[in-house]
């Protein structure tokens, strides 16, 4: 019971900190968009990201792709933590094998896998685009193996892989609980 309570506290700290940071970020961007003069000089200068000129630079809308995907990943992480939080609440009532726990674990796991795969795809897109742009600028042919290893290193990062592993772990966790639930039901029905 003690382990579950500590886990619940940690998950709550993580969940509410993530939400607090997200709300602070939204307030910061609202201030940046509407009242940049209210912010101190180094922060206020970030208002250039809303400048129309930035859309006309050579990268166009693509420059917003990576920051936008980071925000999407962050929101998804909050949702995944919410599902884990719900599962842990059921653990506190010693309710390990309920349908709700299994469903929440599966949802959380799928979101973690999505975050990992989505990050890899976005990074692959960014790496291919920059590689293409760089080779056009330099006008020099590079070895295919070097290009491929550059793209692979830029695409597959540890965070995405760990996110997929955690997602799979929660899916397996859900599967094991489902098996245990069937066993428990069989046991309860046996006289």
């Amino acid at each position: 019971m003690k382990t579950i309570q500590i886990l619940r506290t940690l998950i709550n700290i993580l969940f509410y900190t993530l939400i607090a940071v997200f709300i602070t970020g939204i307030i910061f961007f609202i201030l940046l968009f509407f009242f940049p003069e209210l912010l101190p000089t180094p922060l206020g200068s970030f208002s250039m990201i809303f400048n129309q000129m930035l859309f006309n630079q050579p990268f166009g809308w693509k420059i917003y792709l990576v920051p936008l995907s980071t925000v999407i990943n962050y929101v998804l992480l909050i949702i995944a933590m919410f599902f884990l939080k719900k599962s842990v609440s059921s653990f506190l009532n010693s309710d390990f094998y309920s349908k709700n726990v299994i469903r929440n674990l599966k949802k959380g796991g799928n979101i973690f896998i999505f975050i990992g795969v989505y990050s890899i795809i976005i990074q692959l897109f960014a790496a291919l685009y920059i590689q293409n742009l760089a080779s056009n600028m330099v006008q020099m042919k590079t070895n295919f193996l070097i290009t491929l290893s550059n793209i692979l290193v830029a695409t597959i990062d540890l965070k995405s892989i760990i996110s997929i592993i955690i997602g799979l772990f929660f899916l397996l966790f859900g599967k094991i609980f489902e098996n245990s639930r069937i066993l428990k039901q069989e046991n309860d029905l046996t006289i």
């Binding site: 382990t3 940690l10 700290i13 993580l14 094998y97 892989i161 592993i165 772990f169 069989e186």
Partner: protein
């Protein structure tokens, strides 16, 4: 089965890459160009606290690798569809404990760095993902411990079930 296989492949990949990484650290240390994340200066200028941070970081990292090793064992058992065995429960317990040690030691590194900066008069208030990673690793460790407990009770249910005619 597909999930089990993918889980095993990714865990194996992560484990091997981390082993290569830690071996790399021991090759880099003698060159003297090592820099730690919390203090951007060459090794010759490190104080006692910086060495403590390095040692704690290595211990935390070794705990993380050991936890991954136990998780590899779990993935191996899952691949053989051996869900409720004593070895899988023990591996989950060990892995959970090692993740908790790794997370706690990482947290202590953050606290030591904070006080070091405070006494160095280079105090700064920042938000980075390091603290979140520590909490997350510890949470994963606790999840594994709970899973081992749940599997132990499931194993008892299975034994009862198998004995009932």
């Amino acid at each position: 089965m597909k999930t089990n296989k993918l889980f095993k492949i990714l865990i194996d990949g992560l484990f091997v890459s981390q082993l290569v990484y830690i071996l790399g650290i021991f090759f880099i240390i003698p060159t003297g160009v090592l820099k730690i994340n919390k203090h951007n200066s060459p090794v010759q200028e490190w104080s006692f606290v910086h060495w403590i941070i390095l040692i704690f970081s290595i211990i935390s990292y070794i705990c993380f690798i050991l936890a991954l090793f136990q998780l590899r064992k779990v993935a191996g058992h899952l691949l053989k569809n051996k869900y409720f065995t004593t070895s899988i429960i023990n591996s989950l317990k060990k892995s959970g404990n090692e993740f908790i040690y790794s997370g706690t030691i990482s947290f202590s590194i953050i606290v030591i760095s904070f006080f070091n900066r405070l006494f160095d008069k280079t105090f700064q208030l920042t938000f980075d993902s390091d603290l979140m990673v520590c909490l997350f690793i510890t949470s994963i460790g606790l999840f594994l411990l709970i899973q081992s407990k749940a599997m132990l009770s499931a194993k008892e249910i299975k034994q009862e079930n198998d004995l009932t005619i």
